[in-house]
């Protein structure tokens, strides 16, 4: 097979169009979103401190006004870009190996790494539900604007809802477990001494966020938290 001359191709520096550029956008938006996820969880854990604390926290956030909207816009944009990149990259992946293997063995890749493309959309769907459920209330039968604590308790009393929350958050933990390490690699940060450490940090991050988020519906279901 003759190798033809390859000059004249469009070998230009188009960051957005390149696979590495797309991964960088994934990494940066992922970084923002995982920061949010952590902050969000810490804020919400105030549910264990009682209704006053949590409702005050909710009121405080609402009082931020413009700043809150700015944060929301950044987050929404991040989610949008993160998903867009994911979709584009998945299309590329499907194109890159049109004929699948009859038999394929995965050796070292984690379940988390291989299932990003499933954990991602499920978490995405959960996000929409979560907003409708606790932020805007359309998906909450007993929604009381302003009474965050009551909304949490009445919402999680429904076992189906709680179960969905727990499953989605376990998937989110997996997603973070791979994603938080992966974003460093995508941004070009790797070193034999620090990479194993980063992986452990990512693992811990996933577990902490997962446990924290699962703790809330669990506490409501088991009656530890009630009105």
């Amino acid at each position: 097979m003759s190798t033809i001359a390859v000059g004249g191709l469009n070998r230009t520096a188009a960051l957005y169009q390149s696979v590495i550029g797309k991964k960088v956008i994934m990494a940066v938006t992922g970084f923002i979103l995982s920061g949010f996820v952590l902050g969000h969880m810490i804020g919400n854990l105030q549910v264990f401190a009682g209704p006053e604390k949590l409702n005050a926290y909710g009121a405080f956030l609402q009082s931020l006004g413009g700043a809150l909207w700015a944060a929301r816009i950044v987050l929404l944009a991040s989610v949008g870009l993160h998903i867009t990149m994911a979709v584009q990259l998945t299309m590329l992946k499907l194109e890159a190996r049109p004929q699948p293997y009859v038999k394929k063995t995965a050796l070292v890749s984690t379940y988390a790494a291989r299932t990003m493309i499933w954990s991602g959309p499920i978490v995405g769907a959960f996000l929409v539900y979560h907003l409708l459920h606790f932020t805007t209330g359309q998906a909450h039968p007993d929604f009381k604007p302003g009474d965050v604590y009551a909304n949490v308790i009445t919402g999680f009393r429904n076992p189906a809802v709680s179960l969905f929350y727990m499953v989605a958050n376990i998937l989110l933990a997996f997603h973070l477990y791979h994603g938080v390490w992966s974003m460093f690699q995508s941004l070009g940060v790797a070193h034999p001494r620090y990479t194993p450490l980063l992986k452990r940090v990512a693992q811990t991050f996933g577990i902490v966020v997962g446990l924290g988020n699962v703790a809330m519906p669990m506490a409501v279901l088991t009656g530890i938290l009630s009105l």
């Binding site: 000059g7 191709l9 696979v19 190996r97 995508s186 790797a190």
Partner: protein, 257 residues
């Protein structure tokens, strides 16, 4: 020992392939895997059937010709080994094996277990070199090179271009291959002048060839017969990012390639 082989047979690039089953009643454990296939092929020729086509040349693990999937793993179950170096003592009596070509859009199957990997050559042609014409070199010791940099460059340069990284990658990405060359040359003083251009052009070619992208799963590193490290991909990402942000396009009047 006795083995059952399920081998992907495909007449040509445009034919549909299928798995065909062969029984190997008498396999010696000291044979190499390719010698085992030689025995099968001699048998097939005597029976008037077409032998199984597989790529091979040096049979000592360095030319990078050989490589196919054995039970879903490129080059088979032994780590750090090409299929020509793999010996039958790695298998046990009665085992059933599945042999398939490396699969990727950028690696079209030519026949049976043989694929076209010329995409790799085109990636190197895009920038995997130091532009130094014969005759214009300075003395070999004129530029000292830190031993560790030389060793790391060598680690990356050990890539044999077999394609196992692409084959093992869930996304059929050629990031490990491309990054190994970017890292090899980027770690040496001689490679600095073209570092940005190299990253930009090689990554562009990588996409042009239709390889997938890297999701940092680490399969490539684990399956690379020469132990090329995932760290190289981070290095490529770093070089590319810097280059993509700061690189100035070559314009025709200034003279291109």
């Amino acid at each position: 020992m006795k083995l059952t082989l399920n081998i992907w047979r495909q007449k040509g690039p445009n034919d549909a392939g299928r798995i065909v089953k062969y029984e190997m009643p008498n396999v010696d454990e000291h044979m190499s895997f390719l010698e085992m296939l030689d025995v099968l092929n001699e048998d097939l020729i005597h029976k008037g059937e077409e032998p199984v086509t597989f790529e091979h040349d040096c049979r000592e693990g360095i030319c990078g010709c050989c490589g196919f999937m054995i039970n879903g793993l490129p080059h088979g179950p032994q780590r750090g080994t090409t299929v020509c170096q793999l010996h039958m003592r790695q298998f046990h009596d009665g085992e059933e094996l599945w042999l398939e070509p490396f699969r990727a859009k950028a690696f079209p199957v030519l026949k049976d277990l043989m694929v076209d990997r010329s995409a790799f050559d085109r990636i190197i042609a895009a920038g995997g070199y130091v532009s130094v014409n014969t005759g214009c070199a300075v003395d070999g010791n004129a530029i000292p090179i830190e031993k560790q940099s030389a060793e790391m460059a060598m680690d990356a340069a050990a890539c044999i271009g077999c394609g196992a990284c692409v084959a093992s990658c869930p996304n059929a990405s050629a990031s490990l291959f491309t990054s190994a060359k970017i890292a090899h040359l980027g770690l040496l003083p001689q490679g600095q002048a073209e570092r940005d251009r190299r990253a930009v052009r090689m990554v562009a070619q990588l996409m042009e060839e239709g390889f997938g992208y890297c999701t940092n799963t680490g399969e490539c590193e684990a399956l690379c017969p020469k132990g090329v490290k995932l760290e190289n991909i981070a290095r490529m990402n770093r070089d590319y990012l810097k280059a993509a942000i700061l690189y100035r396009e070559e314009n025709a009047s200034a003279g291109g390639a």
